[in-house]
Amino acid sequence: MPDIPQVGDLQVSQDLDFQERSWRVQRIGWTIFSLILLAAFVGLLGGGPLSAASAGGENEPLEVQYARFARHRSPTQIEVKLQPGAVSGDEARVWVDSQYLDGVELQNIVPEPDSAEAAPDRMIYVFKVNQGDQPTSITFNVMPERAGVRKVRVGLDGGATLNFRQIVYP
């Protein structure tokens, strides 16, 4: 075996250049891993302070709280808050666009809607509400089935519409 390098009496394929390079790569690798862990810790990979987001707001009839970063097949919530005066009468008609619903498994809605209506591009859920001067919230528990950037549109039938994005990690 002519090609095997020799170290002293020892025939061993030591490769110090490669060794140095691999140590450098290991250091870089660990820096990257640490950054990933740090990102996960603050919620950039789902489920942390930086992941909590909301659309709409105090002065609008509708507010939605959601996770900016969700994970494939990991339950997440979309909480729709109806501000006082958002609904006239005792019925709230909240819709979610069907493109988003196609990419998730809708596990349940709290409170349960009274009825649901399918429109070409959206699903309309009808809730009985008894609204005083406090906001009312409706929670959609969903489990994302598709990874990628998902556009979400939620609104009140004949009223305000909110747009937001949700990033679903594989």
């Binding site: 170290v7 009496d9 490669f18 690798g29």
Partner: protein
């Protein structure tokens, strides 16, 4: 197709993590390493099967993982560069009786580790009796004491130079 892609992705992820974390990460499994290994397999399992608990899926995963392993071995026999990338290179830690402390530190090996290996296999009593110690690609340490070195047929390690020279 999904499960095959998942298995391939998992294979490369684990390969990357273990290569980056260094040689010593799982060789010479201690009790705690074994626990960590178990937890790793448990955590990766969910992502690997992804709710598909069929036998078809399980068999496909096993075939893919074993297949990847065989493929990588096949490739690394043909390409020494790839072989180095996948399996690392050996590193001499004690050269002709000289302990290379800088290297020991960088590969997280202590003199105790080397002595332990020497005691276990060759009845080495003291550091001075060791001629070579090598951190092998597998992450294990091999020790060649002066008295069993082929270059020193004599029991006295110092006689070697005269004999060969």
């Amino acid at each position: 197709m999904d499960s095959i892609l998942r298995a391939v992705a998992t294979y490369f992820f684990l390969l990357l993590v273990f290569r980056v974390s260094g040689k010593r990460s799982l060789a010479d499994i201690s009790t705690f390493d074994a626990v960590v290994l178990l937890i790793i397999s448990e955590s990766i399992q969910q992502a690997l099967i992804d709710g598909d608990e069929s036998m078809t899926n399980a068999f496909l995963l096993v075939l893919t993982l074993i297949g990847m392993n065989v493929l990588m071995q096949w490739l690394s026999i043909r390409s020494p560069k790839l072989d180095n990338l996948l399996n690392d290179v050996p590193l001499v830690l004690i050269e002709d009786g000289r302990v290379l402390h800088d290297r020991l530190r960088r590969v997280r090996v202590t003199e105790d580790d080397i002595l332990e290996q020497g005691r276990a296999l060759l009845g080495v009593e003291r550091m001075e009796q060791i001629k070579y110690a090598v951190l092998e690609r597998s992450g294990g340490i091999t020790v060649i004491p002066k008295r069993v070195s082929w270059a020193n047929p004599d029991l006295d390690g110092n006689a070697a130079a005269e004999a060969s020279g």
